[in-house]
Amino acid sequence: MKTFSLYVPRDSLIHRINPIDKILYTITAIAVPLILPSMAASFLCMLISLSLLAAARVVRQSLPVFAFVFLILCTVVLIQGWFYPGNQTPLFGVEPFVFHAEGLMKACRIGIRVTNVVAAFLLLVLTTKPADLVEELVRRGLSPRIGYVLDSIFQILPQMMNTTRTILDAQRSRGLETEGSLWVRVKAFLPLIVPVVMSSLIHAKERALALEVRGLHFEGQRTWLREKRTYPYSREIRGGLLLVLTASIVWRILG
């Protein structure tokens, strides 16, 4: 079954943590470097996020994302190194492409921050089953309808991509050229997009009927097939994160 979820099933402590705690962690890991602009704080957060990824044994799965981020960071290094307005101390290079210490420092700071944010997000996304997260949120009062939409996105989107492929086939069968010059592609747009939209609407309507008769809009108390799960260290994690957040705010104010 194709899905858009990046979840990697593993048996690690990180996987067993409450999804909501993981969200809280992600928020903290992103917030702390914002509150404390020092490079050390960013660096520390990044290090923690990366080691948690390692502890969850999902480093390999996160590499493609980091590779992509690294590419973007390379351009940041070039641009900041050469053109950062605060550049004063030339290091090496040929005019006008001379790297400056201030620019490289700035690029380094950006690099650490971005890596930190990406690592914190990956920790959530790679180790959390989307359905578990949604279930926790619904148990905490998120509307079941919104929960359903979040859950179904992961399966319905791939289905829609299948439909799109079929539509492409159907129109090509009627002699529609879809490859070639820009003009050919522009002309092919309408015959492809209209059926995509229309069939999505028809599917959505049919599915809405089927969900309706299975009580999607029932007003009473709902129940769950799965027993409420108990997650380890929830209290400790939340306490710890809160402490870190408060501490950094206090530090910021006092410092």
Binding site: I167, Q171, S173, R174, E177, M198, S199, I202
Partner: protein, 271 residues
């Protein structure tokens, strides 16, 4: 003369999972029903003929041209495929324009395309709906619009993928009419079908797919007399055939008329 030649064709969507396992078939102008369970490889097979998929091994020739080297759009003037789900193609705001789309794509001028579209709509009995918005039609009518949209391209070979689904009596009659016209013009028409009665009645040849191979290929009377083979392929004998056998007849009847004639013939000697 061979219209379609299929030589030892294999196909897989994912490596290691062969959907078609070495199909060799040769089609002249004899109308052909392709039957088999869901997942037997029927739709994949016709997509290969239409050039929408390329075989992982083997050769396909459409009217002497190698389909392996042509795009589906380039094959469009020669071979037409009507898809199962009409919502996958309808995009114009009137039925007539929808049906004209194909002919215009293959180089017909607007006047000629209009004429062909009108003829095609007449063939499926939708002349009165020509100026309506196709999205307002019922599923069964939309399916007929799609049939017309391919028929209007006047292909030498016509393939219908499950045309009888959701059709009532009138819709079935329209499909029957299209098949008959193609036969009269000496053109090859193929249909993927789940409706055994319809297959027995309207086609001159039946090919049975099962798990990616062809397990039977003969005239309908021959194929529908092999009950155990059909059962193995997840299929049934036509109702009329079953009735004939249940009445102790040895022959395989394919239409009501045949059985009635047989019953009349023998019945009258009894009296």
């Amino acid at each position: 003369m061979s219209r379609v030649v299929v030589k030892d064709v294999c196909f897989s969507y994912r490596s290691g999972e062969e959907v078609l396992k070495g199909i060799t078939l040769d089609f002249d102008e004899k109308s052909t029903a392709i039957i088999g369970q869901n997942g037997a490889g029927k739709t994949t097979f016709v997509k290969l003929l239409k050039g929408l998929l390329k075989p992982t091994r083997g050769e396909i020739y459409i009217l002497g041209r190698s389909a392996n080297e042509m795009t589906a759009a380039a094959l469009a003037p020669f071979i037409g495929l009507v898809f199962q789900n009409p919502n996958d193609q309808i995009f114009r705001s009137t039925v007539l324009e929808e049906v004209m789309f194909g002919p215009l794509n293959i180089g017909e001028d607007p006047k000629g395309a209009r004429k062909k579209a009108e003829e095609a709509l007449e063939m499926v009995g939708l002349t009165e709906k020509a100026s309506e918005n196709p999205h307002d039609l019922r599923l069964s009518e939309k399916k007929l619009v799609c049939v017309a949209s391919i028929v209007a391209m006047e292909p030498e070979i016509l393939i219908l993928d499950e045309p009888t689904i959701a059709q009532d009596h009138a819709g079935m009659a329209a499909i029957r009419q299209v098949i008959r016209r193609f036969k009269e013009q000496g053109k090859l028409v193929m249909g993927i079908l789940h409706d055994m009665d319809f297959a027995a009645e309207n086609f001159e040849r039946v090919v049975v797919f099962h798990q990616g191979t062809v397990v039977a290929d003969d005239d309908p009377r021959e194929v529908f007399s092999r009950e155990s083979l059909l059962q193995r392929a997840g299929l049934e004998v036509p109702h009329i055939t079953r009735l004939g056998w249940s009445l102790g007849r040895k022959e395989t009847f394919l239409t009501e008329a045949e059985l009635i004639q047989s019953l009349r013939g023998e019945g009258s000697t009894d009296r």
